[in-house]
Symmetry: C2
């Protein structure tokens, strides 16, 4: 008998009443960050509650997750509510609670996709192939969730000397899940949050930092994600403005074939 | 006796019970779009409900607004709820309703700003000064809200020939309110939605299109906004990916002095 993938375990939601949209889940040790769950795993749980709801219409197009307070290790409740259902679109609100206190809010937009004219206006950067880029080895001291991804950083690696010498905020990295797992909306949502805080790179200074709010747009349907399968994604992230305790972090994820699958933005707290 | 600015009229919210966070407002004819209010005005109303709430902590940092259904001309209700208040940060959910049906959802993140190290990593493009760029005259056939802004488009103007000849999706424009009004968070929120749908520019084809969800990050505090005052902002917008009925539209707003005040992203529906 095969074990489920750790990501599927992290996403496992049980419901007591199918129609109410109230689910219960458990934080995953495999996706633990330093003082709470990996934000990407939390974003994936928010999305998953919508995907499991019996009233779901269509596929995810937009996801916003607000990390309002720390999530503690253990059980949590997720409430997914279809606030407005139109002919081919649907708007959801989601919240995660522990002990009756909301620690995460979110909104999800889903839609029935239709084939239309399309175009990609942001070509994938020219980078070496994944096989030509060394894989990062995550030591036993690393945070748990990093071990769930195979990462092959091309540029903009985390500083090894925290000497204040940083000059830019852009990273490029090949990535996929480890162990491998076919790409779906939940894993794409998680990967949109997998870039370390840009302020560390920009300043080569390790100040406290944490994501406050994340918005991810999906430029893919299930068919396209199935084509990508277990292939690598090219991730790119950069910051645009650092101002009085918060900076924005923009992220892009392309398939190895060069299709831009997701664009994501987050606002991140930093100290000092 | 002076009349209030049309934007302040559009933002006017009355409350029956100060603590409940329930407000009533009225759509503004001056900020009408083709089949409903200008989305930027709706985003500003969402933000304004938080700014008027007696429990507000700090200043706006992030705003997400989901346009779930059409808003009809007339009265509406706004419910602003402080879901989580921490020591120096606060998370809000907001909804707008008419006749008991929610047509707009949103989340707002506010925080007490602290002076920190800061940097701008996205320099303002080199463009002619506002005085050297012609002002667009909005004819009587134009939609109402366009007349509320002084726009001086530099590049990427709306096509005059809808002949399918488009090649890119980037616009640059100097803008400010008309009549002039000192910049504040609500007007900055509105201006982050003031760019016409990128699909029109990219294809030189006027397909139906409308914003579904908007996220704006503020890289400014009240002091900085006061410094900008009634000055021009440089706006820049472009799309990144058009896929099966939805594209993302990224926008940036700089002060004339070159400070990046807001970064914004939206996901936009398009037909065909």
């Amino acid at each position: 008998m095969s074990h489920p993938h750790p990501f599927d375990q992290a996403l496992r939601l049980a419901h007591s009443d199918l129609q109410s949209g109230l689910f219960t889940g458990q934080t995953s040790p495999e996706y633990w960050n330093m003082v709470g769950p990996f934000g990407g795993a939390t974003a994936a749980v928010v999305l998953q509650s919508v995907l499991q709801h019996p009233d779901l219409l269509g596929e995810p197009v937009a996801l916003t997750v607000n990390f309002a307070a720390a999530i503690e290790a253990g059980a949590f409740e997720v409430q997914a509510t279809p606030v407005r259902t139109n002919r081919s679109t649907q708007h959801w609100t989601v919240s995660i609670s522990q002990n009756g206190q909301i620690n995460t809010t979110g909104t999800v937009f889903t839609a029935l996709r239709r084939e239309t004219w399309g175009a990609g206006d942001l070509p994938m950067p020219e980078v070496p192939r994944p096989a030509d880029v060394d894989r990062v080895s995550i030591g036993p001291q690393g945070v748990a969730w990093l071990s769930q991804y195979e990462m092959r950083p091309i540029s903009g690696k985390p500083p090894t000397e925290w000497d204040g010498s940083g000059t830019h905020s852009e990273s490029r990295v090949w990535l996929r899940e480890s162990p491998q797992r076919p790409l779906d909306f939940a894993s794409l949502a998680a990967m949109s949050d997998m870039f370390f805080p840009r302020v560390w790179l920009r300043r080569a200074t390790r100040v406290p930092a944490g994501t406050v709010s994340l918005t991810t747009y999906f430029h893919a349907d299930a068919k396209l994600l199935a084509q990508v399968g277990t292939g690598y994604l090219l991730g790119r992230a950069h910051a645009q403005q650092f101002f009085s305790g918060y900076f924005d972090q923009s992220a892009h994820l392309w398939s190895e074939a060069g299709q831009l699958l997701a664009t994501s933005n987050q606002i991140v707290y930093y100290k000092e």
